[in-house]
Assembly symmetry: D2
Homo-oligomer: 314 residues x 4
């Protein structure tokens, strides 16, 4: 399999929910339009931001279908779902379903209850899932802060190279730049290394990253597109300013309790995706008012993503 190297911003969409916590997939077409209108070139669905772990198999399949449906005639928009979880049979079923739906690729992360004892076991685990869809690009999703599995990706590449033929690359959500650069340089850049920490995308670009997957691209794509443009024009000073704005925005996630803050930002740009499911904590209405003020303070409205004029979402 020829490995494609993706370039640009891939969003990790939130999974839209109704007030009662059930899926609200009617929003997906408008969500897709919005991403396109803001220069996003793909979607990483059912990952952390997409709350894959908090959904049933059936729900995940419905999300696959929804994104497959809106993007089916759009070869430039790449959709890849996270199929990972702790039951490999479930992962394999989802991987096959992703193929059936016509999605672009699949992603998988390390099982996070029982954890692989070494990188060989992790490679074997990946192989088992990758082999179920030999004609699809297979990405490993590296996010040790949530999985507790922290082997270097350089060691994983050494272990899978020439053994998992559809291994395409890594969504790298960790801050080990020594490892990341080593992977970028592995066999002259053979694998597609997608950066996954929005708050330091500038450092990743400096090292040679081309594609990125991020949750804040959902609601602040213009900021990152400008950051990348500045970087490509050699204007590091401007790029640093954009990165600092992104950091100020991301700092509010820490202040307001973590990942659910992302859906609060979405509300500010008028794409209401509901709330996160338990065990994630959502803001109280009082906190949301404070958050709104902080978002004004950092001038969120100036750099946030824009809903297209003719959006299907009213």
């Amino acid at each position: 399999m020829k490995i494609e190297h993706l370039k640009g911003l891939i969003a990790a969409p939130f999974t839209p929910m109704h007030a009662d916590g059930s899926l609200n997939l009617s929003i997906v077409p408008g969500y897709y339009e919005m991403l396109k209108a803001n220069g996003i070139m793909g979607a990483f669905i059912c990952g952390s931001t997409g709350e894959g772990v908090s959904m049933t198999q059936t729900e995940k399949k419905k999300v696959f279908e929804a994104w497959a449906s809106v993007s089916k005639d759009d070869n430039h928009f790449k959709v890849m779902p996270l199929v990972g979880g702790t039951s490999l049979n479930d992962c394999i079923e989802l991987a096959k379903y992703a193929e059936e739906c016509g999605l672009y690729a699949v992603a998988f992360t390390a099982p996070f209850y029982f954890k692989p004892a070494n990188v060989q076991v992790l490679a074997e685990t990946c192989r088992k899932v990758a082999n179920a869809v030999p004609n699809m690009p297979f990405y490993y999703y590296h996010i040790p802060v949530l999985t507790g599995v922290g082997f270097t990706m350089f060691d994983l590449l050494n272990e899978i190279d020439d053994k998992i033929l559809n291994f395409a690359g890594v969504k790298y959500t960790h801050e080990d730049f020594m490892d990341f650069l080593s992977c970028l340089n592995f066999k002259n850049g053979k694998y597609d290394m997608l950066w996954g920490r929005d708050e330091n995308i500038l450092a990743a670009l400096a090292l040679g990253a081309r594609g990125s997957v991020g949750s804040t691209f959902n609601y602040a794509a213009p900021l990152y597109n400008e950051l990348i443009a500045s970087f490509e024009q050699g204007d590091l000073e401007a790029a640093r300013k954009k990165q600092q704005q992104s950091i100020d925005m991301i700092r509010l996630l820490g202040k307001y309790g973590g990942i659910a803050t992302g859906k609060a930002y979405m509300k500010l740009m008028r794409l209401d995706c509901g709330e996160f499911r338990l065990p994630v904590r959502n803001m109280s209405p009082e906190q949301f008012q404070l958050f709104k003020k902080d978002a004004e303070q950092i001038k969120f409205s100036i750099f946030c993503s824009q809903m297209p004029a003719a959006s299907v979402i009213k």
Copy 2:
């Protein structure tokens, strides 16, 4: 709901697998007989030892059915499944199915990808699942080493008391005896605190524990029954010796790669449950030979569980 306080040994059965990794539930009747013959009074199924996280919903339901079927006329044998996982909808579905099958109770552990931010969120998460089966005893399974969720159970009891009416107690797989004793003494012993670390059951007994859930009870029940008898007779010296034997046995789990060693012990007592699924690593045949020698060294055959003479398993 009147909270029952269980007494004695509850095994956490291995889930039997065929060589190809599929379920081998034909073994369950014999497994049940064996546990009964060795003085075990219940089964905690689909937990860590039972590889719940590595199975699909459908598979877990089949395991529920198998154990429900063999124990349906046996009121003295308590079966409780772990319904936990990261998707609460899945947990709720399993809890209801456990009720439908006529199992005794359900157990739930903290979601372990997204983790509750504080003990209030954990309590709310428990409540959501417990409320689905208000007439069944609900146990919280405390195993921070695997879930990464380490709030004290004393704090959890304070949070759920009088709010989750079917909260029955805790399977306590952690070594915080300050917390454990505080829970035993909570409201004059209101809750059922089941000890879950076989290697220090003697310490738990000294503090007042009455019931225990363990994986090594599968294959070494006689050892633990003798340990408890010695303790109850006030012969601490003898109890310590038994505990040391249990430790020597458990040390081999560390030496041979962890949890999968349990299935190797089962092979030695001639109840072949197959292997663990990925990402758990199993012994190689060479390692198994070395393990057998070490098991002889610690005289495993003297204190191990015995297959009943008329076992259905040939």
Copy 3:
């Protein structure tokens, strides 16, 4: 060297300070009297409770001298200082000074900035210090929560046995009862295993511990002496109640910010040792008032240590 097995309670004294943070060693004679009057049989000085790491070499030597002086004619009162730190030359100097002062033994903990890479290196590090005082009992102080060095003591005993001839045992401040019992049973109880977690001394007694080192023995010796007496009389129910009282007392340490709470308890029994040095945080006067109320709530005055009538401290 014949290894002596200590029995009973060894306090880990606070180092008395003046309001300006300088040593206030005039209190030591009265402190010693108080410990004796409350049934304490030794002192572990300059450890965690004694703030060894926060003192200069010169200050530590003065503390050695003060305790040596008050106990010099008292063969039943064993004083051992922690000589450990990160500079082995300093440790060796202190060990020799302890010998010169006539103290009973020395204790050493793992260096905690650079940490030994494996248990062999830890053993070698111990050996270097132990060899400086070959005629003194040498104890290893196992406190992974502060040093970050967590090798099992069973592995350390295997490594040092017959190699460090004055290795006498371990002050075990960790909650791994599997390891602790294995050490108690090592070569038929060859080494002196001193328990170091007051909040679960009952569990340790059940396993066979005889001596203990603790900070709360400073101010609640009667409680622990009664606990031990109940245990020895086979009255576990009474012992558990005492242990729960000890836990309620220790829980206030967590509530009021940690180790410095110990000096606040000392104030309540009218032995003012001043405050902890930075970076330890002390209570504000407002917090101290709240703390006093909580201490009344748990009836601290009923079981706390008593100042002798004729105390030199007025």
Copy 4:
């Protein structure tokens, strides 16, 4: 105090030892010459690389003197010692001695046995030491991997700003680029942020770092000077290649047991600094031979620092 912003490479010298582990300070003049000849503009002494924690106060003072002596007429070469440790009285004494010797600045790290409970306590701890030398620049050395103290430096700057008037900046040995950029931008770049992770200096440069402190600058200064030159000329491709070479070199530290590998690299460039003290583990002679081969493999001799022709070290 006007805060100076250092630019370029500051080495963290190894402390030279004789074969018996005693100081070998006769090497320092030649060491200094070598650093100068390779474009190094300062020395961070007695830090991690310099084994400060493994030395006595007296030894540290001798190291201060040695470096003060060789650089006393060289205003362009900045020497700053780490005075940190766990005893603040010791730290203060060393800070004053550094001033007496005429060193440029002092550095301090968080106490690492008792750890500050929050960033306010850390700030108060810093203040106490900084106030002892109010006319010297005071740097905080941020190295959570060794101290276990991980507050963000952004929070520390907020806490100390306008309170510690001689606070000059941070030696940042951690990989949190969100925090690092926020500190660079704090009050328009008020503080001097020195980068301390050689393996990702390129990322730091991209964010705006100007000065760096590193251990591998001791033996590979030419590589880093070329990397910086490439970066400044806008040739990122070349800079990435240099960074990869640095990473390949640093990977051998992991392979051969850590920090002591640095002294092995020094031997290869013929500046023998002896071995690390316990508890750091040194290579065996056999391992050194393997290491030499690996060093050849990565072509260490091509980019390593060069001894000046007329070196005083023969």
